[in-house]
Symmetry: C2
Subunit: 371 residues, 2 copies
């Protein structure tokens, strides 16, 4: 089966690496002009002139990047099966639509309002109570297009700095940690849930994911499963879906979702029986889902901006190196390391050892290290 | 780093799948005219006209197939580093040279003689005592170019059926099972040994490999490590080397070696911390070797000739499917399934369950099932 992937970055690369052993082949459709996938066939098409050519070469289509025009996905869906459906894409591209859907499905979110000018941003901040986070309603990711308002007086400046005509303003949530739930849904409706991950961000970029999230109560896990199941069913979803959540004193609060494999699921390559990448390919191809159970405990460390001392990391018997073969640039995701262990205690010092060789890494901090 | 691979079959495919995460890229050099690798760049060159072109595109060279002219490997070695060295290739292509080297290094082999005509084959059979196995001295693999002689009188017929001007004649060895030792040696001389595998052949083709080999005594393991260490050192070897052995009442007896990753090491993809493919790429690239420890117990089942019911196999939570994306043909290796378990008991029934979906598979038999 020939799988077409919209986008041609590291997620596409890892999808292909997981898909080749299932006898899938890959064609990547790149709208950015800077594909980094490094394997498979790549069609670079900045002007949208080669879409028909792309479609003639594939049997099914999926994506690794959700910031592409919904019209493109819809046009494709008229010709070939697209998983997940363009509707999932549409919802994930629009924070207002996403929060509205969460609300309809009974998934708690931070209180939110829409702002369409500096004045309405100020008013929203006043009504919600600061601090609030203002985010561009569309096109934002990895912490871009966001501003925190400590007081309503900062509205004018924040409005200017974001530079977007429609913002979503969210009341700041007091949370103990950020977690994510990744699940896959097959064509026949079968759903497989991964163990949840605990995620640590730094400067808006994910740095560490530990899975299974330590000390997670069974109730919290059931709650997350209920939420993502509701989303998967409502969207008649096929493939891997990620739901980012805050853990708070009053239960889980949804932050956002991503209609694809996710950075916080990279630990699954060695840390789970079947990786998120393989399960996405299985779902998109119409196969049964693979076992999602964890193999020991894992931590994924992102390599951001510079590679550090990879040769030394390759000497660590518990480290698995995954490079994306990209050039160094501040803030750029260049690869990740999966650290495996049999216990969380062991995991913590292994992660610290490894992070020593990654000069840009923030100090390792998570619920385990905070005691 | 750009790695050139001589040969373009499934071993090259799995080398590439393991090498991409280490930011390696691959160019395959195919002399057969029928590459099946399916990834990377492939240079098909039946007449040897594009060797310079191939060399200009790679930094280091290795192989996945040892039956290529040693002159080609030597010509390449004059231009670019080749790992393992052409000498290893030369020894492995010539059973007489191989057995001689084994003898020099104190590695036991079956008693053997050379035959250069039907008469000398008959004489060898008489002197060694039947049954004997006659094999073409060069160019044989997967049981091709071989004949078993039950009596010296079968010499004329065997000579004709093999059709090769120089045969090696080996006394039949009474063995309890076939095992293999796979080890990797780094540029700096560091060696890593994999747990040994127990191998079951059917009609000259490997069908099942179980690892770690059940019930292996520590002494037997040390013996195998000593033998392969002697070979790795003598050949100043860089990369993965495989040594096939018979386990007998009087200890291990070497059958043959392969200067590459090996079918009996495919279980390492999910069954070991670092796969044989990754360790070969690490060695060839000058990196440190990765941990070779087993993760649980594994059985590799080869998919031979026809694919069977892959969709049902994908439903088995303990099965990992590795397809080579090749067309069906009797006796052809089309892929393999790695079965994982926590105990041998569990492994046996899991393998049996899986084999149900592979119609061409012989009944699962190994030291575990023979009680």
């Amino acid at each position: 089966m020939r799988i077409g992937v919209l986008g041609a970055g590291q997620l596409g690369r890892m999808l292909a690496l997981a898909g080749y052993p299932l006898a899938k082949t890959f064609v990547f459709y790149d709208l950015s002009g800077s594909p980094s996938v490094g394997i498979g066939e790549v069609i670079v098409d900045r002007d949208g002139r080669y879409l028909d050519d792309f479609l003639s070469r594939v049997d099914r289509v999926t994506y690794e990047f959700e910031h592409l025009p919904v019209e493109v996905a819809e046009k494709i869906a008229a010709e070939k099966p697209v998983y997940p459906s363009p509707r999932a894409l549409q919802v994930c591209q629009n924070r207002e639509a996403e929060k509205t859907l969460f609300g309809e499905l009974g998934i708690p979110t931070p209180q939110w309002k829409i702002a369409t000018c500096a004045d309405s941003l100020k008013k929203a901040a006043e009504e919600l109570g600061c601090p609030v986070v203002a985010k561009s309603n569309t096109e934002g990711y990895d912490g871009k297009g966001q501003a925190v308002l400590r007081s309503p007086e900062e509205a004018a400046e924040a409005w200017k700095s974001i530079g977007h005509p429609r913002l979503i303003v969210e009341k700041f949530v007091e949370f103990s940690r950020e977690v994510s739930m990744i699940a896959a849904r097959a064509e026949d409706g079968d759903i497989a849930f991964y163990p949840m991950a605990e995620n640590t961000h730094h400067e808006g970029i994910l740095r560490y994911s530990i899975a299974p999230a330590p000390g997670l109560s069974p109730d919290t896990r059931s709650e997350a499963e209920r939420y993502i199941r509701a989303l998967l069913s409502e969207l008649d979803y096929v493939g891997v879906l990620t739901l980012e959540l805050f853990e708070t004193e009053n239960g889980l609060v949804a932050n956002e979702m991503a209609p694809r494999v996710h950075n916080s699921g990279h630990w699954t390559i060695e840390g789970a029986s079947t990786s998120q990448f393989e399960n996405h390919i299985r779902a998109v191809s119409g196969h049964a889902l693979g076992d999602t159970a964890a193999r020991g405990v894992s931590c994924m460390i992102n390599i951001i901006g510079e590679h550090g001392d990879i040769d030394s990391i390759l000497r660590l018997p518990y480290a698995h190196v995954h490079l994306y073969d990209k050039g160094e640039r501040p803030g750029r995701k260049l690869g990740h390391i999966n650290i495996l262990a049999d216990s969380y205690e062991e995991l913590v010092w292994r992660v610290r050892n490894c992070a020593e060789f990654l000069p840009g890494s923030p100090e390792f901090s998570c619920s385990l290290t905070r005691g």
